[in-house]
Symmetry: C2
Subunit: 543 residues, 2 copies
């Protein structure tokens, strides 16, 4: 394909290495967007090694060591909610007949987060199928002062989707129906429990795509995506869910159904209430249905995987890219050499480009293949001529595109196999993005096994990960609050896309001033005066 | 240009008429984005004929007949706010020395909306320069229970930007400084009083564009744009301000400064508070600074102006356009034949395409002129071959592009010269968009002089306008609530992009359920417990 795409590309500089060698050492099944349930960890996301399972899928407790209870690991006090009684269970059985789960084995997967770092001890999980059932459940829980933990695909990174104590788990798993799809406008309306990958398939059959894509797509629910304001791989092109979500149906803490499920691109009648719930992590209401704008499916997708000699060149490549690829640019991801070493070492993935300190993955999506190829060719010639890129490879067919994407998407998995991982998800001004990684490497020295940086460079979003053989309090002390203070010093965000959930709620003040924190508390008190919705999450405990 | 752009275009079908003839009968100065201060009108936007002036600019009361006071025209009761005293004026003089306006002549332009349909009787206008001054003013007014009317460029369509009674006018006119611009990310941070056109010029010099553009750009303030969630001409491509605004600084009713002025593309630390203020029309807080993401400036812009034989063909042209122009499509506007008759008759603009029942204006913006021209050429061939389009013209140079845009942008002005205008701004499912116009034409018969439909078809946004020689209560009775009920029957929005302000606040319930209305009232009570911010606007009066 390359000679056609980049006819004047000098072969000596830009070597095509068959993409099929990428996964030579990995079983075919592992090429799927699989991930792992890590072993027991330490506070703040330390994880271990364990077999591959579907992210967010259930794991048998007999195969993995038990995860320590959150209430034992963290200094957190149960709030004075009621305890679920037999009468309550009978009431739930009347609301959701045959869909009240109390079997401890079955509950286990919903009590533990997929990173296996936090664990609640809920005794009951409810599986409503309709908005009315959710409304009945919440009205009942509100009256009885029972705490509720809304749960989608349980794929979150910050412990937001599992109970901390014995909160009732309200799963959207059976709310998985498409309500409507409009073939001209591309507006999809569906229940909150639809799995992202299934929605993607549904709209792709109709020549559209979902405006978001993420590694957890095989398990995550669209309602959870909206509740956590998921970012992901298409953010650079299609923007935030605050722009693409057109309407929501939400059940409030007292059971009131708030129907803002409009499927209009424009609606300026009063305050845009749905925005309140996007990114509120289930603490202000339970999202039961979503209306979302899907972009037309691109007719051509190209991926270039390039090696850059330094981070300055990564930045210049990005600027050049924005100018020369313009409207067809759909992703600009970067990763450092240590990331590539880890995916090679732990997963056997062979990068077609090697011996560079930095790598970038550029994706284009457009409506005319020939035009896109010409733009990409001009761009690649330019970056090579100016020494911004020293080596690279291109892919256009779907299989090769997926293989190149795997080098980026499976870094998380490779890290988890490297030992205990300390994970940070930071927004920074793009020119300072890598300084934090370099600073930390110098600061930690041999205490860390690896300090790696990768992420959505186009969005100013760094995934900073530090690995060590085992959990170490002194390493944690060297990392925190240093990382947060460093980020705050650059007016960055201490949680770019993962949210706060349970594990990051106490670092909120590094990115938000006291007035904002106070208004958040007031909104929580207004919408959920008893605090029954996803307690212990998002907002720091009141003094 | 055409032979180069569409080499195989059959000359007999697609006749190029020199775009310079478009404005032959109109003075050169009128080609600017000028608008008018209409004459005295009747309730709900009836307007008359008057000389062209810059929209939102001050008008001498000696030249135009006086506008009736809102309190005399509408059944509205003054709420029990304090009345501004001499002590208050002295206090304001200490906060904003030399910038306290009490001269009645000078106040006139700020008491009357640009459509000249509503008029307050404020006795004082304040011109703060800094956020601290705004904070001091609001803290003082909150303590004294004085009502405040925040005002930007005063270019709104629904009476939201002028006082209803004697509210203090808080103008952002002197808060017009750019705070920062980031040349890689395109993130602009500026004070709320910056004029949109000046910001456009500023970022265009740096190879970016503002993500929004509207007819009032020469006068409107970015803070007002955000406060009203302005839509406009670039919405189809760059989406809503809920997606492109990255941060806001807002002063709350009690003077608290809420600094959420982040300039990061991603930030998931807690609730996205800024969203509350986007589209809240100054009723929840006063926006003092804005951080906004600017897209790269396109290197090529093309405009096609086409005639379609029916509305079904307009819709098919739109679908074809989305598929074939894909990522370069930046506007898809439509207008009916009566619109073109009006711009011809009242403004002397000659359309290069005539004798079609419908017209569409398609704009493309891309990074490579040759590619864009090829895409456009293929598209035009296709729509001609299939009979979706019967005639058309193309423009690529800036002057001609502006001339074609004037045919669309100056419809409002032509309407105002046609007599008394009844204006509606509706969102509907795109396939029903024109049915409302046809239905109304049949319903109104000779009562109406003209019933016209035009607007942002790509966004499902219809501007429906009805003209008559003079205000008529029976015509109004035939229009309302019929138009609102018709819209509600299609789950449409009774205010797509103009907001509710003073004039549309009572129709909110056609598009929002009681639970939403209740939550809006609760949010207002939380953020502005004394109700001093822009009272009588957005929310219906409590029973």
């Amino acid at each position: 394909m390359v000679p056609h795409l980049v006819p004047r590309w000098p072969v000596c500089l830009f070597r095509w290495r068959a993409a099929c060698t990428l996964g030579a050492c990995v079983p075919q099944s592992a090429w799927a967007r699989a991930s792992r349930t890590p072993g027991p960890g330490s506070p703040r996301g330390a994880v271990g090694t364990s077999p591959l399972v579907r992210r967010g899928g259930s794991s048998s407790s007999s195969r993995a060591p038990e995860v320590m209870l959150t209430r034992e690991r963290y200094p957190v006090q149960r709030l004075p909610f009621s305890v679920v009684s037999e009468e309550d269970l009978a009431a739930f059985e009347r609301i959701t007949p045959g869909r009240v789960v109390t079997d401890p084995e079955e509950l286990e997967a919903s009590n533990v987060d997929w990173l296996r770092t936090v664990r609640g001890c809920s005794k009951v999980l409810l599986k409503p199928q309709t908005t009315e059932e959710v409304s009945h459940i919440l009205r009942y829980c509100h009256e009885r002062n029972l705490a509720v933990n809304p749960q989608g695909g349980n794929t979150g990174m910050v412990g937001g989707s599992v109970p901390v104590f014995d909160e009732i788990i309200l799963s959207t798993a059976l709310m998985n129906q498409v309500i409507s799809f409009h073939g001209v406008s591309g507006i999809l309306v569906c229940q909150a429990g639809c799995i992202l990958e299934e929605l993607s398939r549904y709209v792709e059959e109709r020549d559209f795509i979902m405006p978001l894509d993420l590694g957890a797509k095989g398990s995550c629910h669209i309602g959870g995506n909206v509740a956590t304001n998921a970012g992901g791989l298409r953010f650079l092109r299609y923007g935030s869910l605050h722009g693409t979500v057109l309407g929501l149906e939400v059940v409030l803490a007292d059971g009131t159904v708030l129907n803002c499920l409009t499927s209009l691109r424009k609606d300026n009648t009063g305050y845009d209430l749905k925005q309140l719930f996007i990114g509120s992590e289930g603490t202000l209401g339970v999202i039961t249905a979503v209306s979302i704008l899907c972009p037309p499916k691109p007719r051509a997708v190209n991926v270039a995987f390039l090696g850059c000699p330094g981070f300055a060149e990564v930045l210049q490549t990005f600027s050049t890219c924005k100018g020369m690829l313009g409207e067809i640019l759909s992703a600009f991801e970067f990763m450092d050499a240590e990331c590539m070493q880890l995916v090679g070492h732990h997963l056997g993935l062979v990068s077609p480009v090697q011996e560079s300190p930095f790598y970038v993955l550029i994706e284009t999506s457009g409506s005319r293949a020939g035009h896109d190829a010409e733009k990409l060719s001009s761009f690649l010639e330019h970056v090579l001529d100016f020494g911004l890129v020293t080596d690279g490879t291109l892919a256009t067919d779907q299989r090769r595109v997926k293989m190149l994407w795997a080098l980026r998407e499976r870094i998380t998995e490779a890290l988890s196999r490297d030992g205990c991982v300390y994970k940070y998800d930071i927004s920074l001004p793009v020119e300072r993005l890598y300084d934090l990684v370099s600073d930390l490497r110098a600061r930690l020295g041999p205490q860390a096994k690896h300090v790696v940086g990768y992420g959505h460079l186009g969005d100013g979003n760094l995934h900073l990960n530090v690995t060590a053989e085992a959990f170490s309090a002194s390493l944690l002390g060297a990392l925190e609050p240093y990382v947060y203070e460093w980020t705050a010093g650059q007016q960055g965000s201490v949680s770019a896309e993962h949210g706060l959930g349970f594990k990051k709620k106490d670092v909120l003040s590094y990115s938000k001033p006291p007035a904002a924190l106070q208004l958040m508390q007031q909104l929580k008190a207004l919408l959920d005066p008893k605090g029954i919705l996803n307690p212990y999450k998002t907002l720091p405990a009141r003094a």
